[in-house]
């Protein structure tokens, strides 16, 4: 099992290096939006002292950490899955005794992730100097953030994989994905810190698991959680990961039965 992952890693790592120019383009697309939000909110906060108790340097810290967590936890490869399902390309991977999503795509994702993080580091340092964030990272928080980020990644990966599997049933899964993406961006803290949302959205965010994917790891690194809250949230993450793993497997199996292997 481990040997398979190691081999896949080597293949995917080499593959990622082939397309390093595309990677830079990808990063530009991703960088702009958090920078815009960071600029808008730091301007508003410095004009009136603070926004709901958050000062300009705290906004800068929030968005800079968010940038790291977003790139570390988001998935970049699953959109190819829907094409493979609809176009029949999945057939080739189904005859290989390795799970196409949970092994092949997962490792592919990790490889692109590693390279993105490497490319992001210098840009991140420049942004750090430009925006003067109030950032005090302690070793304890970083250590606790590792499982939080890992599970945040798994949450997003499994949820997206499940939704992408809708391609087994409909060719228009894209619009559902887009609606999901919009809800996710607001309730996961990707657009603003959750405390700035209107009350109904805050309540929704508190109940739904979206915040566990981004907001929780970010706040953990920023050090705003007590030990108790941290443990509860890590537990919740674990539970949701298991739930999503079960749901994904059910949907995947049901989908495979319907798979018609176009072009075969």
């Amino acid at each position: 099992m481990f040997a398979i992952y190691r081999r896949l890693w080597q293949v995917n790592w080499a593959e990622q290096w082939q397309y390093r120019a595309d990677l830079l383009l990808f990063l530009t697309g991703w960088l702009i939006s958090p920078i815009i939000f960071m600029a808008v909110w730091t301007t508003v906060a410095s004009a009136q002292g603070n926004v709901n108790g958050i000062t300009a340097p705290e906004f800068a810290a929030y968005y800079l950490v968010l940038l790291l967590v977003t790139i570390a936890t988001s998935d970049t490869t699953l959109n190819s899955l829907s094409y493979k399902i609809m176009g029949g390309g999945l057939s080739y991977q189904l005859v290989v005794p390795v799970h196409p999503v949970l092994t092949q795509m997962l490792v592919n994702n990790l490889a692109s992730k590693a390279l993105q993080m490497a490319a992001l580091t210098p840009i991140w340092l420049i942004l750090y100097l430009l925006f003067h964030p109030a950032l005090a990272i302690t070793p304890t928080n970083m250590l606790l953030a590792l499982p939080a980020i890992t599970m945040g990644f798994l949450l997003q990966f499994l949820a997206n994989a499940t939704i992408t599997c809708l391609a087994f049933w409909t060719t228009r899964g894209g619009s559902i994905m887009s609606l999901y993406g919009t809800i996710f961006s607001f309730l996961s803290g990707q657009i603003v810190p959750l405390t700035l949302l209107p009350l109904f959205a805050q309540n929704a965010a508190a109940v739904l698991p979206f915040r566990l994917a981004l907001y929780f790891p970010v706040q953990l690194i920023l050090g705003t959680f007590t030990v108790e809250e941290t443990l509860i949230n890590l537990g919740l993450q674990l539970i949701w990961c298991l739930v999503l793993l079960v749901v994904f497997n059910l949907v995947w199996r049901a989908g495979l039965k319907r798979y018609s292997a176009v072009g075969a």
Binding site: T28, L31, I32, A39, A47, F131, S178, F186, P198
Partner: protein, 261 residues
Amino acid sequence: MYILKLLSTSIKSNLQHDLAYRADLIVNLVLSLIGLGSDLFGLSIIYANTNDIGGWGPSELIILLGVWRLVNVLMNMIIWPNTFNFNMSVHDGSLDYTLLLPVNSQLLISTKRIVIWHLFDFVIAIGLIIIGLAHNTGITSPLQIVAFLGLTLSGTTIIYSLWITLISLTFWFTKFGNSIVIMSAVLDAGRYPAHVYPFWLRALMTFVVPVAVATTVPLQALRGELQWWQAIGFLGIGLIAVWLSSRAWIAGLRRYSGASS
């Protein structure tokens, strides 16, 4: 006259193309509405926590959103699909056939594919501008509105000209097609007034990808912050951009050697 005839033919053939996928139309309209809802919700969050962004009120940000969405209609309706077509045709040499036609080639490659259903987004953008204007109390003279409309038009033309220039550069640097991705990423900054951004980002969105000229500048005219000579100056820049980009296109064509023969 002949330009209009060419345009209407292109629109007709594209309409036929899009009508073949009617079910997609509904999905795309729903996606448009989701996008609009998300933009407005984003603005409402900001104004629930503050009275102004860099001195600008809600009605002004709604107008700005409308203008920014106009630029995006241009991107999605014309620039993206035709960039794809253009890159393919340079790659496989089918550009030869376009060039052989006795028609202005720049017009032909920029209107070959028009994604008709984006007209819905166009209506939304115009609607936002009208609603914002109706709620704006800061307008004192009709001249401000005239300047606003003129500068919106010329700003959008500058973005179009930048695109023509970028794809002309493909003739020199074959891998240049990706620059459109960067251009579209920077365009995203246009949804908020340029002066809230730090200096380097403002410089980027004014001089490299002039989205600030297309979105913030018209709003400044509406707020009466521009002198008459500044407004004329920006309109002049628009005309120069159109002229320069058509020169770049012609110079690029001279370098084109065809891939098929």
